[in-house]
Symmetry: C2
Subunit: 140 residues, 2 copies
């Protein structure tokens, strides 16, 4: 890439979708000895969340909340749960969006930049255009 | 956990399985501006690999190599590719294995500790016992 001003160099978090974050938190803390946060409800994003902090990044477990939760479809296909998305940090979400579109990758939610679960502007890349992987870009 | 001597505190890498790592590398480097390594063949592990380094961890793209590649089944279910596993670092793989088994989580490959793609001892946790998520533990 010629213009690498908006180069992505840091993973913010990995999100794992499950049907029950309380149970998931117990399984991970017992088996791997990691520290799990309290449950946080984010009704505006249709999820409940717990955070597991590691030295170099955090993992977020997400459980559907409400009728229109955006992770319901994923869980109907993956009833045991699974790795839902990877979130990267970007300095400028507008430049990142432009760069993504220039490379023929669609943006979900009609291409709109919205505030994500951390109350920062985010976009989600269309997995079909991007190695089957749901990627979130978050302005930091 | 009472005994946290074998506490897991660092993610080593995220692995993304794809049918064609060369194309995947191009898509990621163009769209996100990240630097992609050369292709490495690991016939003993049934994969070809490219590495993408970020400040806090690396992502590995894996493509099936040979007839008995362990990622063929995943790709037949996810033909576009997808996030295959997360690898965590552990200090003592034997202790980690014991802790995993004590918590009722099965270990793949008949429970054997084998040398992984980085030539270090690894185990893989059974996703069905572990929030649908394939987790690799690697002794560092």
């Amino acid at each position: 890439m010629k213009n690498n001003k908006n180069k992505i160099d840091k993973v913010n978090h990995i999100a794992i979708a499950v049907n029950d974050i309380k149970t998931a938190g117990k399984v991970w803390s017992k088996t791997l000895g990691c520290n799990v946060s309290k449950i946080k409800e984010l009704p505006e994003h249709g999820v409940k969340v717990i955070f597991v902090k590691f030295l170099n990044l955090k993992i977020e477990f997400i459980e559907p909340l409400g009728r229109n939760s955006p992770i319901k479809k994923y869980l109907s296909k993956n009833p045991n749960g699974g790795i839902h998305h990877i979130c990267f940090e970007v300095k400028d979400i507008n430049k990142a969006k432009e760069q993504v579109l220039q490379n023929g990758v669609k943006i979900l939610n009609d291409g709109l930049i919205k505030n994500g679960a951390h109350d920062k502007p985010v976009i989600f890349l269309n997995p079909s255009d991007f190695t089957g992987t749901l990627v979130e870009l978050e302005e930091t």
